[in-house]
Symmetry: C2
Subunit: 359 residues, 2 copies
């Protein structure tokens, strides 16, 4: 988009102000903005041109101008200042991320909550395992006469377990035998290769008639298939109502309902690189046609890949949200890679050169 310097300034001013106030912005208030020492009439002329270029529009003949999706797009691609996170902000994020490093789903929920708090938009977090996790190791622990624990280590370095109670008693020796057998036949084996025939072969090899082998194999299958399932978390949905564009209950409800659907969330646009901004009608889903989505990718270790995103009105503070989201995503990646969030992030942050920005 080839814009004169003044047009750029005006477009930016319009968007900045509109993001702030949600009111159409008139030529006068732009004219009084420092940095532009021309009269409102001049601004009007420029704005009329910006409108004919499709970057601004008027809600009605005698109102101020409002950015179009295309206007936002130009802003995001060319005009957006790098928003600089304050020390207080990075501090909050670091502390929140550091405070607990627990189960993946817990981390996800926390990250979502954090993002939502920091952006005041609803946030979603999503983790999906790349298919193809396998069992790498296998142990059976005898607890008492008829109880034992299955402990399974997976190729993505997570460990899962299950407590099994049998209606009959087992011997330590049986378990040792079985665990050797399973380590031999079931490790490094993708789910689709664990067939009924493999299971019955194992049953024969072990001489098992009690069904233990089937129980254990069932657990493994369930485990591997549940890993393919993605987990999603939506937080801060009620933030939506902060924004006048969702004061219309029906609209808000439609969007909320859409966002509550895990399957839909999973279909939201994913970034090719680290971050993707999808503005209004660029969204495929009808429910999002006048909302924007900003989503960042984080790396959750070997076979896991995650997205963390924010949904809001097209009138969104793209620069601020993008900055925070990217910072959080980086933090998550480091955290899940087993690093220390705080130090990792502080380093990341300080060596990223960023321009100072007002407000």
């Amino acid at each position: 988009m080839d814009l004169g310097e003044r047009k750029k300034k005006i477009l930016r001013a319009v968007i900045d102000q509109y993001v702030d106030t949600a009111e159409p912005v008139g030529s006068k208030s732009i004219a009084s903005d420092v940095g532009l020492s021309v009269s409102s009439a001049t601004i009007r002329n420029e704005m009329a041109e910006l409108e004919s270029m499709g970057l601004l529009e008027q809600p009605h003949t005698s109102a101020g101008r409002v950015p179009t999706p295309l206007g936002y797009r130009v802003y995001v691609n060319e005009l957006m200042h790098q928003h600089k996170l304050s020390l207080a902000e990075t501090d909050t994020i670091n502390r929140a991320l550091k405070s607990r490093m627990q189960q993946l789903d817990q981390i996800l929920a926390d990250a979502g909550r954090l993002t939502s708090q920091l952006t005041s938009y609803p946030a979603y977090a999503l983790a999906a395992a790349a298919a193809g996790a396998t069992v790498t190791r296998f142990d059976l622990i005898l607890v008492d006469q008829n109880t034992f624990i299955i402990v399974v280590m997976l190729s993505n370095k997570t460990v899962k377990n299950k407590l099994v109670t049998l209606p009959f008693s087992v011997e330590q020796a049986t378990l040792v035998k079985l665990s050797t057998l399973f380590n031999a036949s079931f490790t490094n084996m993708p789910e689709e290769q664990i067939t009924p025939s493999l299971i019955s072969a194992t049953e024969r090899a072990s001489g098992d008639t009690t069904g233990i082998v089937a129980v254990i194999a069932g657990f493994i299958i369930e485990l591997l298939s549940s890993l393919k399932l993605q987990q999603t978390h939506l937080t801060g949905a009620s933030n939506l109502f902060e924004y006048p564009e969702y004061r219309d209950v029906d609209k808000a409800q439609r969007l909320l309902r859409y966002l509550s659907d895990e399957n839909e969330l999973a279909k939201l646009p994913a970034p090719d690189g680290n971050m993707k901004i999808t503005i209004g009608p660029e969204n495929l889903a009808q429910e999002l046609k006048d909302s924007s989505v900003i989503v960042a990718r984080y790396d959750a270790g070997d076979d896991l890949q995650g997205l963390i995103g924010v949904v809001g009105p097209t009138r969104m503070d793209y620069s601020k949200v993008a900055a925070r989201l990217s910072y959080i995503a980086q933090g998550l990646s480091h955290l899940l890679a087993g690093g220390d969030a705080q130090t990792a992030l502080l380093t990341e942050n300080t060596d990223t050169s960023q321009k100072k920005r007002r407000k």
Copy 2:
């Protein structure tokens, strides 16, 4: 509350109709209701009395009547028909509950979703461990030179694990020694007795200078304290907007925000028996003063106790919601006790005598 038979009929009719339409109900429409062959004027007189008793009220001088919270209370306590679940309904519930029996939090989320779907109100599910869980058994599994798995079994029969990678190598023999030591000193020990001095005593006893003992002990402490944390799930929040009483965005937002706060959810009224209905102003929280909460208890095994609840306007179909909630809670209890949801529930259901109810 001592009401004449006709007053009861009228109160019930008013509530039933108001629940249906959300419009103040006038004497005329009650009069045309079958079962009462009196004129609207008579109904008016009765309604005036019900109003002076505090069971009904008029939004304004010349509108129909609306039940007061006290009116609902009388209805719930004395007048409510037992709602009979249709076979289709029990079937849906059974299938949904049966379909997957996974992790507790997964079950919770599913149960919440199911409840919300079946009642069309937002639902929450909550599980809290009674304090005082202890470790009952302890194992260490060597994976490779500097990696091992901690497997811990708890007094509530759940098993937890953690993969530990060390910056140095360990011997199988060391692990065996450590696990004996931990089994001796840390089992059956409530969290508050696991003191730094116990840990350092164990460190001395094992001759450990590497810090492994501290790592393991840290895991145990984290585990026990995380168990005390309750888990909550809120689902179907967007259902709220189905109801005209939440068309006011501010009101809806306040309530949604309140419900999204896990800490607040945990503070919601819990039943003494199996179910509790809290109507409008009976709620302590300001945000719930004009909403009602129906909550049922389910039993999640040894040390675990759960609640599943529904939040909606005071104009709520108490009888229907109560019936479904109670059925789901029973199903959950059976499921978590390891039973088969379907058979258990079908039995439960058929031997509960219930009156048939219209609509």
